[in-house]
């Protein structure tokens, strides 16, 4: 370098240029209301800045610990098998639809669901954005961290504990709520699942933060361990997605082996 020495004026000019580079899009004054999370809602959350983003990785404050791909657990009635490579198949099987329920009918943690830890002070203020189709999935806050999705026991009333999962295979955090959920999540219109397992072995969860990346004009609404995937085309069997290994692409069509909600 250097163009000039550092001085206050240069710092101020830089900070102002970054902060005010583009106008801040209008805010959503309905953000306080409970809004059923739908796939399109996820896009709305992405906001006007979405086109600028090739960088955003995950929802702003979603924390769960290890990535799902690190821990492959089990699920009641389901023995998930995650393909490590694409088998030589001529007629790909239909996409397996799986419903994630980490609870027993009696309201205790289901056998095979690993408990990662227990958190307190939780509050679930809206329906899940990550798992829109699941009527028992919530978006919750504990401290400053957002957990989404968190699952309430199906059909239970006065729910004071939800199970928050990073993936169907990762185990759960039990989150104790400061006040019971007053109702089950309201009726949903979302159709796209929370979690996908692709034919190349990638596991992808729904992007629930601002600004999913766009590659070649395709919005990658799912964040995978490596890269991202579009919302699935469920008009065929098996379902397909456009998958990109990184922000530069190239995109390739892949089959969806499992779809979880």
């Amino acid at each position: 370098m250097t163009h000039t020495d550092l001085n206050d004026e240069r710092l101020r000019r830089t900070l102002k240029a970054v902060a005010e580079r583009v106008p801040v899009p209008p805010g959503d004054e309905t953000l306080w209301t409970r809004v059923p999370a739908t796939s399109s809602h996820r896009r709305i959350l992405a906001g006007a800045g979405a086109a600028l983003v090739v960088a955003a990785s995950i929802a702003v404050a979603v924390v769960y610990g290890p990535r799902s791909s690190d821990v492959v657990g089990s699920h009641p009635g389901v023995a998930p098998t995650i393909p490590s490579s694409l088998p030589p198949i001529t007629a790909p099987p239909a996409t397996q639809m799986e419903h994630y329920v980490p609870w027993t009918a009696g309201g205790s943690l289901a056998p095979g669901i690993a408990l990662i830890g227990t958190l307190s002070g939780g509050d679930c203020w809206t329906t899940s954005i990550a798992d829109g189709p699941n009527e028992y999935a919530w978006r919750c806050l504990a401290g400053n961290d957002i957990y989404d999705p968190c699952f309430a026991p199906p059909g239970a009333s006065n729910v004071t504990q939800v199970a928050c999962a990073r993936s169907p295979f990762s185990g759960v955090y039990l989150l104790n709520l400061t006040s019971p959920l007053s109702q089950s999540s309201s009726a949903r219109t979302a159709t796209y699942p929370w979690y996908l397992v692709l034919s190349n072995g990638q596991q992808c969860d729904g992007f629930d933060g601002a600004g999913p990346p766009t590659v070649d004009g395709v919005t990658l609404d799912y964040v995978c361990k490596d890269g991202g995937a579009s919302e699935p085309n469920d008009g065929t069997e098996p379902w397909t997605v456009q998958y990109g290994p990184n922000e530069s692409g190239p995109l390739q069509p892949l089959n969806v082996v499992q779809a979880w909600n």
């Binding site: 163009h3 101020r12 970054v18 583009v22 800045g49 600028l52 990785s57």
Partner: protein, 165 residues
């Protein structure tokens, strides 16, 4: 940031309740400024919007309004921005920063160096030179001692000068 945000002071009523008129006014008056601050802290225009949205939701959930809503909001934005960046360190799946050009080599270079600073040093510089806060005010926003602000500012500016030389 410990102690800055009272995490247990949440509303008893269900989410979805109407926000207070004061909060709506704060939202209308300060949201843009908070998003601009969060852009500096998160290095992302899109993530900044999400951080500020969650900050307002946190304020809405409080049982009692904070004594100084604007200061509380600023502290919450700083806190959530830092949490976000912490997680990005763990989960580097996409590049964490948006790459933007300002068509001004000085600004491009200065911002690139600022982006490489640790969060606290960049936050102190942003709050000092963009928000024009005093060191005492910055300490309250970041939940640290004024001496820490002073040393972070010194280190951050030294690093900037060092990389420019």
């Amino acid at each position: 940031m410990e102690g800055v945000v009272e995490e247990d002071a949440v509303q008893e009523d269900m989410p979805g309740s109407a926000p207070s008129s004061d909060l709506v006014t704060l939202y209308r008056n300060k949201r843009t400024a908070m998003v601009q601050l969060a852009r500096l802290l998160t290095r992302s225009e899109a993530i900044a919007e999400e951080v500020v949205q969650d900050a307002f939701l946190q304020m809405h959930r409080r049982r009692e309004p904070p004594e100084n809503p604007e200061a509380y909001l600023r502290a919450t934005v700083a806190n959530l921005s830092r949490n976000h960046l912490r997680r990005l360190k763990v989960e580097q799946r996409w590049s964490p920063r948006e790459r933007v050009s300002f068509n001004d080599p000085e600004i491009d270079e200065t911002w690139a160096i600022l982006c490489r600073l640790p969060f606290r040093q960049r936050a102190v510089i942003a709050l000092r030179f963009y928000e024009d806060l005093s060191e005492a005010e910055i300490a309250r926003v970041l939940g640290c001692r004024p001496g820490t602000v002073k040393s972070s500012l010194h280190r951050g500016l030294s690093k900037l000068r060092e990389e420019m030389s």
